[in-house]
């Protein structure tokens, strides 16, 4: 079980890519999925690498990312 887990609000996301650039572990990418506003949204491409550091959420200008952390490691 990975240390971190992120939830991206696809309605809020505008596909700016700042989270992708901020994530130190290559967890995120801009996908080809369009939201109702026409933005190609961010998605999780390497969930196993997420540490729950929340750097992505710190940089997100649209408050589109929620970050969760595992209570205990390696459960």
């Amino acid at each position: 079980m990975p240390k971190g887990f992120v939830v991206i609000d696809k309605e809020r996301c505008k596909g700016c890519g700042l989270c992708v650039a901020a994530c130190p572990f290559g967890v995120l990418a801009i996908t080809s999925e369009l939201n109702p506003y026409g933005y190609a949204v961010a998605g999780v491409i390497a969930p196993e690498k997420c540490t729950g550091c929340a750097m992505c959420a710190q940089m997100c200008p649209d408050v589109a990312i929620e970050v969760y952390r595992a209570v205990k490691e390696g459960v």
Binding site: F5, M59, D62
Partner: protein
């Protein structure tokens, strides 16, 4: 909301969720706009200080004009540049309220220069969030007093010529010379470390008001990727490589 479609697995606890003083409304800013980060930081500061119920924001004319939709607290939308004057009136009429203005550089440093300078000089007990993106963002990218020398805008297609339009106006340095203000600082949000520093500064600027210390202003050197015509990631680079040359970061005045 699509969030509900994704189930958080058992065994995880939240470490970051949307601040509760923000509403469900999507921000109206462009993708990658630093206004979004700054708006969120103000909400986080309000949450952490537990002042949501007694906070009144003053929205500017500019891309942040719809702030009242984004926040779950009272708001007044001031005439262009007059936010510090409106904040003064509200704070003096009801000193128990926590009053902040949120203004762009066209708003605060061009049409509203006089209101800003005099509110600072009177040491009004208010908090000012000043988003300096070196441009009139909302109206389509015209030159602002803060526009960098040589910077192309729709009204300076050959680049800003300082011989005819002057130099980038450093409001924070000017205000720091006055006796009135208590706290003047310049921050940025181009990376996580600076986002965290900017948040600390915003919290301090609100705390000063709670403690009755007087006028506090946090300038944030920001990027408007749309009018720079660059990607959001390149907008961050622009701040570091260009804007900070004229607008160095750090505290300009701290009175304790």
């Amino acid at each position: 909301m699509s969030v509900t479609e994704v189930k958080v697995p058992a065994g995880y606890v939240p470490v970051y969720t949307k601040p509760k003083s923000l509403s469900e409304a999507r921000f109206t800013y462009c993708p990658g706009c630093h206004h979004g980060i700054i708006t969120r930081l103000v909400a986080e500061a309000i949450d952490e200080l537990g002042i949501q119920e007694r906070t009144v924001g003053i929205a500017p004319v500019g891309c942040a004009v719809f702030l009242s939709d984004f926040f779950r607290c009272d708001f007044v939308q001031a005439a262009h540049g007059r936010a510090c004057a409106v904040a003064t009136g509200i704070k003096r009429a009801n000193p128990d309220l926590i009053v902040f203005s949120y203004q762009g550089d066209g708003d605060l440093a061009a049409i509203g220069t006089a209101e800003t300078v005099h509110a600072a000089n009177r040491g009004e007990n208010i908090t000012v969030i000043f988003v300096n993106n070196q441009i009139y963002g909302m109206t389509g990218g015209e030159m602002a007093p803060t526009t960098l020398p040589g910077m192309r805008t729709v009204t300076t297609p050959e680049g800003r010529d300082v011989r005819t339009t002057g130099y980038p106006l450093r409001m924070s340095e000017m205000l720091a010379q006055l006796d009135g203000p208590s706290y003047i600082t310049r921050q940025a949000v181009f990376d996580v470390r600076h986002v965290q520093m900017a948040k600390k500064a915003i919290i301090k600027a609100f705390k000063n008001q709670i403690e009755g210390k007087g006028f506090s202003l946090v300038e944030i050197v920001a990027a408007c990727p749309t009018n720079l015509r660059v990607s959001p990631v390149e907008g961050n680079k622009w701040v570091v490589e260009q804007a900070l040359k004229y607008f160095p970061l750090g505290d300009l005045k701290v009175r304790d």
